[in-house]
């Protein structure tokens, strides 16, 4: 590969790592800091992507859209929509054990996929939405990629800063207290249900934002781009490998897993065509196996959660 190709690839990877890091940060709010098992990351991601695409896209005759709003408003819309869907789900499921939340969020993601595939007037059905505007899209290709990378990095830094600040504030300590012993926290007068709901909506809104960043980068979206299982699962393994409960771990995990995932694609693309499709499934198998190994040998992740200033939480917490 010549230099410009390499540069392009690096920029492309950088943007996607940024978007996945955002998703891992969001999942860290759910799982790492609040202990909420959200197995429907792809659903909130999809809502953000489609809402922003519809709000900002050019008019299309056969479906809703063409509002041509500024991209920034599309992002806000994506966050609001993803948060709004999280709210009723959280209201219903957060008081139950986390297994139930996982089942419910898998369901949410499946319903969202169903709607996206069936409602042509809204989402373009299987054809999806194309022609989504990209900020700095009028620049030439490399410059546009680079500018978008800067934008994604800024958003990631801002969200990272906000989340870190929030977690070091009393709010964050309270969340961890609720996660580690909800009865003790409740006994001390904390409104456990309301706080969990806050965290659930907050994290889901960030997942929606990641979806919006993705769709404006990619300039189009189809139902295939949000395979619930793969999209959700990759984020989970990023967070577990990086270290749940640690924001830098989440970002590190996102970078590592994404590099492994796309490097393995480069490898399998070189295989003869008849083996290439099968190799795709082998990659999924290997990622699944990686999760098993991490859970078994290093469940705290590469960058474990920093212990609280006084006292440790019970050993073995994910």
């Amino acid at each position: 590969m010549e230099f410009s190709g390499l540069l392009n690839y690096a920029l492309f990877m950088g943007v996607l790592i940024g978007i996945y890091a955002l998703l891992a940060l969001a999942l860290n709010i759910h799982w790492g800091f609040t202990g909420l098992f959200n197995a429907g990351v792809a659903g909130f991601f999809a809502v953000g992507a489609y809402v922003s695409a519809i709000l900002t896209g050019a008019p299309a005759g056969d479906r809703l859209g063409g509002f041509e709003l500024p991209v920034l408003l599309g992002w806000v819309g994506a966050m609001v929509a993803a948060g709004a869907i999280a709210w009723p789900i959280g209201r219903i499921c957060l008081r139950l054990r986390s297994d139930y939340l996982a089942i419910a969020t898998i369901g949410v993601a499946e319903i969202i996929r169903l709607v996206i595939k069936s409602e042509d007037w809204l989402t373009g059905g299987p054809r999806g939405i194309t022609g989504v505007p990209r900020p700095f899209g009028e620049l030439d290709y490399v410059a546009s990629q680079a500018a978008y990378l800067v934008l994604v990095a800024l958003v990631l830094a801002a969200i990272y800063w906000a989340v870190e600040r929030q977690l070091r504030a009393p709010w964050g300590r309270m969340m961890k207290a609720i996660r580690d012993n909800e009865f003790a926290a409740a006994a001390m007068g904390k409104d456990v249900a309301a706080r969990r709901l806050e965290a659930f909506v907050f994290g889901s809104a960030i997942m929606g934002l990641a979806g919006a960043l993705f769709v404006h980068f990619n300039r189009s979206i189809t139902p295939e781009a949000i395979d619930p299982m793969i999209a959700t699962f990759l984020i989970w393994i990023m967070l577990i490998l990086g270290g749940s409960g640690n924001n830098r771990g989440a970002i590190l995990g996102a970078a590592l897993i994404w590099i492994i995932w796309s490097a393995s694609e480069l490898l399998t693309d070189r295989l003869p065509a008849e083996m290439a499709t099968q190799a795709k499934y082998v990659r999924v198998f290997v990622v699944g196996l990686m999760l098993q190994l991490v859970l078994r040998f290093r469940p705290e992740g590469l960058l474990p959660e920093e212990p609280a200033s006084r006292g440790n939480r019970p050993a073995g917490q994910g």
Binding site: F37, A39, I92, C93, L96, R97, S98, D99, Y100, A102, I103, A104, I106, G107, V108, E110, I111, L114, K117, S118, M229, I230, F233, W236, I237, I240, Q278, Y281, V282, V284, F285, V287, G288, L289, L291, Q292, L295, R296, P299, G316, Q317, G318
Partner: protein, 289 residues
């Protein structure tokens, strides 16, 4: 629509589908109540069973003859998965096992996709003519399915209530510590549970395959209805899982009368949310874990 059409096009398919869900939901409820975690690889284990049956059928075996073999193979695989991946997490927070099972689901599915591909397949080609029983149309495979489900459920109920090992399983479901103190070998009960669960998932996957078609996503699509059925019936209640399965299956088939057919599979989710909201212990007073 006259009454016979209603029976033939909605009620019978609903009951058949419900019976298939019921068999899967029993497995979910056993893992949930005895091993205490939500087993997300359940659906994909069913897919695996369905495709193993396809391999047997490929050698010229009759599908229904292959069923017991397939159940045995999948039972062994379920035990092996537990030994290799879940067993080490047993002393850790249960949620890690749930996560592991999500990964196992993907791993099993990718094995199926590598070995058998992603195109839909069937056990036998050609159209089966239904037989008419006073206007009620039943295909032989539907009759066999219902008979298999009845035999499986009554056999399992008898096993759980009248045998030593069955009682040990129920004891571990009620109170694992107490069961251990009374001399129940938790490891053996765990293995036995996986054997039964594996066999049941294989049966449900096979029956879905023979009544519709096989594809690598079939089990994943069954997961939500099976969980809905198990929670609707009440976690830990075999009879609850059966009733829950029938309700979910019937509701899916009947939903076509009121919502567009592409949203048929959303019915299970609606039932799940409704039951979590209104009565988390389920119809039969199961556990809320």
């Amino acid at each position: 629509m006259d009454f016979l059409d209603f029976i033939n096009f909605y009620l019978v398919p609903g009951i058949v589908l419900g019976a298939i869900y019921a068999v899967g939901a029993i497995g979910i409820t056993l893992v949930f109540s005895i091993l205490r975690f939500a087993h997300f690889a359940h659906g994909d284990m069913a897919t695996f069973g369905a495709f193993v049956a396809l391999a047997f059928v490929g050698t010229g075996m009759d599908p229904w003859t292959a069923l017991p073999l397939v159940m045995a193979v999948t039972a062994a695989v379920a035990i092996a998965i537990d030994r290799t991946f879940y067993d080490y997490l047993v002393k850790r927070p249960k949620i890690l096992t749930v996560m592991a099972s999500l990964g196992i689901a993907l791993m099993i599915r990718s094995v199926v996709q590598v070995v058998w591909g992603v195109d839909p397949q069937t056990y036998s080609r050609g159209i089966v003519r239904p037989e008419s029983f006073a206007g009620v149309l039943l295909r032989p495979r539907e009759i066999y399915t219902l008979v298999t489900v009845v035999i499986t459920v009554t056999g399992l109920m008898a096993f759980l209530h009248y045998t030593r090992w069955g009682k040990a399983m129920r004891a571990m479901s009620d109170n694992p510590d107490l069961a251990r103190l009374s001399g129940v070998d938790n490891r053996k009960v765990t293995m036995l549970t996986w054997a039964i669960v594996g066999a049941l998932t294989a049966a449900s996957g096979f029956m879905l395959g023979i009544n519709t078609e096989l594809n690598s996503m079939m089990g994943w699509n069954m997961l939500l209805p099976m969980f809905a059925a198990a929670i609707l019936g009440g976690v830990g209640r075999i009879e609850g899982a059966v009733v829950g399965g029938l309700i979910v299956g019937l509701a899916e088939e009947l939903s076509v009368l009121v919502v567009p057919s592409q949203y048929k599979s959303a019915t299970a989710f609606a039932i799940l949310l409704a039951i979590l909201l209104l009565r988390p212990s389920g119809l039969f007073k199961g556990k809320v874990l």
